[in-house]
Each structure stands twice: as structure tokens, then as C-alpha cells.
């Protein structure tokens, strides 16, 4: 199997580690603006033989192309990488417990129900590692001070404070959409331990799944869910002056049979004039949610002050 998929070697660990510049106080300097990495499938489909029904839609991308003609003057986009991000287990598949694999199928066939709809579409926080997967609507800014790394995400104006002071995670009674991050330096690598997630987000999912594809046929990570026991350990490492590799181990004993690991180049340094724009997600979303699920969010009013 591996011999027929030579591109799998792409995902191996960098053999020569780049030595990044240092901040004034001596930490590896990750500061700057970044763009997402190149598209790459997340996983090997559990059912690799699934074919979309003949005569039907070719999926969401095909539907979009009916509205947007390709720009003939646009520079050619880089070829998509074909190896999966999942490097462990080595078969590239999400190690679901059997019931959870069924649950994923169920989630994907019920995308027209508000409760099961992709949390990205509902404008919930991205959670992790989803915030670092390559998507066209996200860019990043990293700031540092002694004792802190802060990551700002254009997607849904999300942010993370990563304290480096060895402090423990917040109380397990507290739940956070982006989780609770605690970081440390291992050489030039920023290692972040993240817990205290909610249970209404997806840890992965990017690109567009073929319309009507069951969970078992997906390579995009959609429908992968987690419990409150999700535990993510991330490793950010420069592979050259402009590229940061990202390795995340995802652990949730309620859903998966073992921890699993994805690795890919997630952050590419952006041009000098880059800035994060406001991504007001929920503010314009009511009509879309209504069309997709029939749920009328626009008439709901909260008691917030």
C-alpha cells in the first residue's frame, strides 16, 4: 500500500531543523503574520471505494463553480497535496471506536439539522487543531511577550493566550471553545497542551466534502467529533524562515481507540502588508442557517445586557 502512495513521505518530520531568530528576551521568534498552508487531505477514507451517485451533484465545489467563473488571469494554484495529514496511525485513518464511526455517519447525513450541522457553519469557535487546517478564509497573527504567546485567527475573530509560565490548566469545571492552552519551549519548538474544550465543536474538518458522502467516505475530517475529554498537544516548529510545521496529537478516550497525530506545514509567512480583517461570522449568518436547517435564528433575542 505505502509503495503505491509515494507522496506519503511528505508528511515525515523535518530532518534539518531551522534555527529561528530570537526575541529580545531570548525566546524563538514566532512573531508575524501568516497564511494557511497548502491544501492536503486530512485522512484516508474508512471506505475508500465509495463513489458519488452517478448523475448527481459533484459536490459543493461544483455548485460554487456554477456561480463563479474561474479567472483566466489568475496565477495557477499549487497542485493539491494528496498524502493525508494523519501520520499516526500509519494507515492515515481516524481511529474511531466502532460506535463513534457510526455516529460520524449519522452526523453527516443529518447536516440539515441545526444540532448536527457543522459548527463552523454555525459560527461556533473552531476548536483545535481545526483552527490551523488549511482553509482560504483564515490567516494568522502571532504576538509574543516574555511569558506569553498570543495567536490571533482571522476566522471568526478567535484568539488564544498561551501562557509559558508552567501554570496549571484552569478548573475542569470551565469549558472554552478554543480550549485552555498552556505552552512551553522544547528547544526551538513551541509545545502547547490544550484541554477544557466544550463538546459542541469538531476538532478537524476543512475543504468541502462531496455532497451526500457518508462519514466513512470522507477525507476532509468533517463530522469527526469529540467529548469534553479532548486533549490536544500541538508542536509548532520552523522548518525554514517562512514556514512553520504543525504537529498535533489528538486524544479522546471516549471517542477514539488511540491518540492520533496530524502533521503538515500550517503557517506560511504572509507578505509585509498583510493584516487580519474582521470576520464577522454570526452577524450575517441567520438567513443561511434558515435555508440549510429551517431554524430561524433571526427572531431569537438574548437577555444579554
Amino acid at each position: 500500500m505505502l509503495l503505491t502512495c509515494p507522496l506519503l513521505v511528505f508528511a515525515q518530520e523535518p530532518t534539518v531543523e531551522f534555527d529561528p531568530p530570537r526575541t529580545e528576551w531570548g525566546d524563538p521568534d514566532f512573531r508575524g503574520h501568516y497564511l494557511p498552508g497548502q491544501y492536503q487531505p486530512l485522512e484516508i477514507a474508512a471506505d475508500e471505494n465509495w463513489e458519488p451517485p452517478t448523475g448527481g451533484s459533484q459536490g459543493n465545489n461544483a455548485a460554487f463553480s456554477q456561480f463563479f467563473e474561474p479567472d483566466p488571469d489568475a496565477p495557477p494554484r499549487p497542485a493539491r497535496l494528496t498524502a493525508p495529514m494523519i501520520v499516526d496511525p500509519p494507515d492515515g485513518k481516524v481511529p474511531f471506536q466502532p460506535w463513534a464511526a457510526e455516529q460520524r455517519n449519522d452526523i453527516m447525513v443529518r447536516q440539515d439539522e441545526l444540532e448536527h450541522l457543522d459548527p463552523r457553519v454555525k459560527c461556533l469557535p473552531s476548536a483545535l487543531p481545526r483552527a490551523h487546517l488549511p482553509v482560504g478564509y483564515n490567516t494568522y497573527q502571532i504576538l509574543q511577550l516574555p511569558g506569553y504567546v498570543v495567536m490571533l485567527y482571522e476566522w471568526n475573530h478567535l484568539y488564544r493566550y498561551i501562557p509559558l509560565d508552567g501554570s496549571p490548566h484552569v478548573s475542569p469545571d470551565i469549558r472554552l471553545g478554543m480550549g485552555d492552552s498552556r505552552g512551553r519551549w522544547e528547544g526551538n519548538t513551541l509545545v502547547v497542551d490544550v484541554t477544557n474544550f466544550t463538546d459542541n465543536t469538531w476538532p478537524v474538518g476543512h475543504g468541502a466534502p462531496p455532497e451526500g458522502a457518508p462519514g466513512r467516505a470522507l477525507t476532509t475530517g468533517h463530522g469527526v467529533f469529540h467529548s469534553r475529554d479532548l486533549h490536544v498537544v500541538e508542536r509548532f516548529t520552523f522548518v525554514d524562515a517562512n514556514t512553520i510545521s504543525y504537529r498535533a496529537t489528538i486524544e479522546d478516550p471516549n471517542v477514539f481507540t488511540q491518540p492520533w497525530t496530524i502533521e503538515f506545514n500550517a503557517l506560511q509567512r504572509a507578505p509585509n502588508d498583510h493584516m487580519l480583517f474582521e470576520y464577522a461570522c454570526h452577524e450575517g449568518n441567520g438567513r443561511g442557517i434558515s435555508l440549510m436547517t429551517g431554524a430561524d435564528l433571526e427572531t431569537i433575542r438574548l437577555g444579554v445586557r
Binding site: 441545526l114 461556533l124 490571533l152 484552569v170 452577524e283 429551517g294 438574548l302 445586557r305
Partner: protein, 335 residues
């Protein structure tokens, strides 16, 4: 970008105020004849923002005077020569350094390596401005308050005053924040939730617990981008002494100023002045300018308090989740 210099062309309408300064500084006469009607006596601000302390250099002032900015018209060489502008800048600089600044800080708290007051930390207001920025009595769930608006007067145009009253009558359904929309600026500051300032050499990032709102305030001298409309506007900052001055424009006009229906248009221009007066207090002054809605600029002021609890961190108030929960409960949405 920074303050709009706001210079009147109605030279003939001016009543020149003679003071001993006229003899003391060569810039006084030009200032009083051309600038004072809008920018107030001794640069203290009136219809247009204060120019003391002066946060720009001569070249910048010359460019703004000649090209105009926002509501300020271009001023010709005939009305105000380059030398006159230089004299006016010198006059304003002398006022800036002579202790005539409105807020005398005497700040002796921590500073960054660049020498600026270190605002890093978690802050929060302690007032009821989120419910009503003007003086108001208590209602069910709403604490009373003396208000944060200078003289308690919001100078609405007549139509806008009527609109505000309609907003107030419909506030439980019409307030955008009740739909979990981003609150805009300055309302996000006085929402009853903490916010965290992350201050580096060329950025001040303000992250808010409410709806994980973010303001990335560039303090690197960069200018507002090409016109786009944002819920939270586009913020550019600079330091004037110990005061962080944040100029925010490019609003979409969809936000309110409080839960009582006080509102603005997409012409809103907000200038915030964050002046630390101790390690634990910031004097927060906001000037609101919106020629579509108000008859003149007006000001709010309140203290910001540093939260000092050990181990404090921002948590989540993700109201999108509450909207979704409400929709799930009601099996399809409508309440």
C-alpha cells in the same frame, strides 16, 4: 491615523480673544483666527478634537491643513501660510509641554521597554453604561447610574433624537447585541465583561471576553485601510505622552452605543484616550463624532479598573452558543 484637525474657514465670524499670549507666542494669532472656532481655546477641543497635547509633527499638520481630512476643509496658503502653520504647531507644542493637559497623570506604574505605560493585563469598567450611557434610574435587572456622558447631553439632531426614543421603546428586540452581534466601539469597552490588553512595541491588541471580540490596534504609524465597513471599525493608535490615543473609523452603522437605543451612523468617528493614572486605573475618555446623527462631537469618560485576582484569565461568553441553544430548545427557532 489620528485626530482630525478641524479648522474653520469662517474667519470673518471669529471674535479674536486678546490675551497676553498673543504677545508671547507668534502662533497665537493664526490659531485664534483660523483654528480656534472648532478646536477651542488653547487647543482644548470644542466641535473638533483637542490638539493639546499635540501628537503630530509639522509635516503631518501641513499635509492635513492643505488637503483637509474628514470634515476639515483644505486651508489655502492665503488663509494660512506654511510659516503660519509652523507657528501654530509651535504654539500648540508649547501648550502641550506647559502643563495645560486636561489629565495630569503623574503615572508612576510599570512601563514597557519602549517607555510607555504598560497596560498589559485584564481590565473592566465598574458602571452601568452598558445599559444606558446617560443618567438613568434602575429597572428590573438594570442598575441605576449617573451616566458617563459629559454634561449628560447627547447632542442628537432632531430626527435622531426621535429615532433614539423609538430604539428605546423597542430595545428588547431591536438592540443588535441581543442578537449576539458584535457590540462595536466604544460599547465593547463598557460591556460588563473583562477584556485583556496585550501590548507590544507596535501593537495594542484588545481581546474581549464578550463574543471573543478582538481589536488589533496598530501603533506603528500606519493609516486606516481603504474603505471597508466593519462592526468593530478599524483602529489605529499612537502615544501622546502617557496617553494611548486610538482613532477608529470605518464602522458599518449597525451597532448601538448602549442597550438604551443610543446609536450612530456609519459616519461614526471614535477617538479614545486611555490615560493610566496609576498601576490599577486608566482614565478612559471617548470623543464621539458623527455628523449624520449629532450636531457636534461629544464626550464620555469613565475609569477602567485593573482586575487583580491571581490566576485570572478571560473565559468564554460565546453568545452564538446561547442563540443556538435557544433555537434547539424551540425546535426550529422562533421564540
Amino acid at each position: 491615523m489620528v485626530f482630525r484637525l478641524f479648522i474653520a474657514v469662517f474667519v470673518g465670524l471669529l471674535a479674536v480673544v486678546e490675551t497676553t499670549e498673543a504677545q508671547e507666542h507668534p502662533g497665537v494669532e493664526s490659531y485664534q483666527q483660523v483654528c480656534q472656532l472648532c478646536h477651542g481655546e488653547r487647543g482644548r477641543g470644542d466641535m473638533a478634537p483637542a490638539l493639546v497635547p499635540l501628537g503630530f509633527d509639522v509635516e503631518y499638520v501641513l499635509a492635513v491643513v492643505r488637503e483637509g481630512y474628514g470634515q476639515m476643509p483644505p486651508i489655502s496658503q492665503r488663509e494660512l501660510s506654511d510659516d503660519n502653520v509652523r507657528q501654530v504647531v509651535g504654539y500648540l507644542e508649547s501648550l502641550s509641554s506647559s502643563g495645560s493637559v486636561a489629565v495630569q497623570t503623574g503615572y508612576d506604574g510599570p512601563r514597557t521597554p519602549a517607555g510607555q505605560p504598560d497596560l498589559n493585563g485584564i481590565w473592566q469598567v465598574l458602571n452601568s453604561a452598558a445599559w444606558d450611557i446617560r443618567a438613568h434610574n434602575a429597572q428590573d435587572g438594570v442598575p441605576a447610574g449617573l451616566g458617563v456622558v459629559e454634561d449628560n447631553i447627547i447632542p442628537y439632531q432632531a430626527w435622531a433624537s426621535a429615532q433614539q426614543q423609538e430604539n428605546y421603546a423597542n430595545r428588547f428586540t431591536a438592540d443588535p447585541v441581543r442578537q449576539c452581534f458584535l457590540p462595536g466601539v466604544p460599547r465593547i469597552t463598557y460591556m460588563p465583561f473583562p477584556f485583556r490588553i496585550f501590548q507590544t512595541a507596535d501593537h495594542v491588541v484588545m481581546t474581549y471576553e464578550f463574543a471573543h471580540a478582538v481589536r488589533i490596534i496598530y501603533t506603528d504609524g500606519s493609516e486606516h485601510p481603504l474603505p471597508n465597513d466593519f462592526w468593530m471599525g478599524d483602529s489605529r493608535g499612537h502615544w501622546e505622552g502617557d496617553t494611548l490615543v486610538v482613532d477608529t473609523t470605518h464602522f458599518n452603522g449597525e451597532t448601538w452605543l448602549d442597550a438604551a437605543g443610543n446609536f450612530h451612523s456609519n459616519e461614526l468617528h471614535v477617538v479614545e484616550r486611555y490615560t493610566p493614572i496609576s498601576s490599577y486605573h486608566v482614565d478612559y475618555e471617548v470623543t464621539i463624532e458623527d455628523p449624520e446623527v449629532f450636531t457636534r462631537p461629544w464626550t464620555m469618560r469613565m475609569p477602567l479598573y485593573r482586575r487583580v485576582e491571581e490566576g485570572l484569565q478571560l473565559l468564554d461568553y460565546d453568545c452564538v452558543d446561547f442563540i443556538l441553544e435557544s433555537a434547539n430548545r424551540s425546535d426550529g427557532g422562533a421564540q
